[in-house]
Assembly symmetry: C2
Homo-oligomer: 333 residues x 2
Amino acid sequence: MGNQTFQFKNDIYIGSTATVVGPKEVAGPLKVSFDKSYQELYCGEATWELAERKLMSEAIDICLQKANKKNAEIDFFLGGDLLNQNITASYVAREKEIPFLGLFNACSTSMESLILAAVLIDGDFAEHVITAVSSHFATAERQFRYPTEFGGQKPQTAMYTVTGSGAAYVCKKKSKIRLVAATVGKVIDLGVTSPFNMGAAMAPAAASTIKTHLEDLKHTHKDYDAIVTGDLSSVGTPILKSILLEEGVDITKVHQDCGSLIYSSDQNVFSGGSGSACSAVVTFGHLFNKMKQGMLRRILVVATGALFNPLMIQQKQSIPGIAHAVSFEYVEN
Amino acid sequence: MGNQTFQFKNDIYIGSTATVVGPKEVAGPLKVSFDKSYQELYCGEATWELAERKLMSEAIDICLQKANKKNAEIDFFLGGDLLNQNITASYVAREKEIPFLGLFNACSTSMESLILAAVLIDGDFAEHVITAVSSHFATAERQFRYPTEFGGQKPQTAMYTVTGSGAAYVCKKKSKIRLVAATVGKVIDLGVTSPFNMGAAMAPAAASTIKTHLEDLKHTHKDYDAIVTGDLSSVGTPILKSILLEEGVDITKVHQDCGSLIYSSDQNVFSGGSGSACSAVVTFGHLFNKMKQGMLRRILVVATGALFNPLMIQQKQSIPGIAHAVSFEYVEN
């Protein structure tokens, strides 16, 4: 097997998950799958950054409540967010008092966290790990693009950052969803330079990770009921499919995208959703619900990240992408 | 043993290391310990950010040359930096084409990377892992404080960000330096709100991690020839010692600080060095050299990180700290 992919030796399970989202997300088609939502972006806090912190804090609380675990019983907290210096996760780690490993791979941090959580448990370094990621429309707009008050026009290739947080409790205790295998992505860059076209920037990385995962495990798309990318949306998705088809891999029949699932086409979200929370809240809510209902038996979630910051764009650098993949399996009773 | 601390089951070694630094560092007392240096902050590049990228890229190249390994033989690259969205490490990962796990715990990312590298190898997920972190005086000043052209006066509690990068190749092949045990830190915050007083912000986290490490392993300071903090410098060091003394732990005789070691007192660096590269270049150069000469047999390196960003300071939030510890042992032939 290639080095990028590993299958876990022990049975590692998703003990529980939780999702907390904002107004746009709860108005969308996946409404019933979220645990909690807010009707305004401030979520009752004084600033958007504090609102994002609240989303992650509550996602962790609800997740651990479902698992009937206290903070003190959790060995490690792994996670990150999009804010400069991962500040949401750091402040949440302070509040929860759980030993903390901060991670950052932009919007692919959701699966990066799950991979390293499973590694820690599989290698007997931990028994109980919580992971969480977040993003917020208003904090991301301000930081990565223009102040929302500026009212700048966006091209249709732009994406809409998901406001929300998804948390997952990973453990050895049997549940209905097992983490089976994972592929760590390489950073790939085909030269996209617009922060309003992240789908195109991330598609090549998703293609690389999917191809590597299937090859390393000698799988085809038929081994999965769904291969779900994080946030390629309507622009990146055809690019992904076309790159893979050129390399002889056809995932058309099983492909879905969290960024396309989370909003409906009449919600004015340009090409679809993005943000660290996008893959997390769709996977931990909607997709895992389908698995628990037995409607999906094996899925591959490929979280995609655009690795840029505004200063690099100003310096005319292109936007590299990365994608990390985790496969999940429905477990019969 | 407490959950925060683990001893590695297999023998995990530092196969090689490399350090590349800037003008201030190579003018300091540890001059002979660095592999390469530049006489100006641009390092021959068009921007400071590109200069920082060059430092990390070259540190990895030199490190792998010493180990006689090619990029393609390395399973994973783990690392991070201080720039928004970890952009130095991401672009370097693109160039090296090694599967990448981006990490961020501010200046403690040096030891966070080594911990997870050792976890991946100890758990049989990898055989060859490269870690690297970087920081740069000019990129950090611009991003975290004021543009240097502004010429703002600083208080004596301020620190001087180390320009440099340290890389370490971690493997199972026997070398003179073995990674023995590690403690993952908790985020701790006693309410410091000034980005010009990071030593005080980080000292409580260092105290917590050191106390936990010693307790978990039933060790005292006598088990170590040196307990070396990352970048507490002249302000944080007395705070660390005093917190630990109050809790009955006396490390006075064995304590050193990378931020105090790297510059001499006549170099105008305020209270001393800081930055992700600080603990990395001092540990991977000076301290490991002392171990290879048999002058230090067992050391505990406690990398300290201040988890803030300028927006949080503007919103009157305090600065949480974190510290991750790794112990290294000299191996006889």
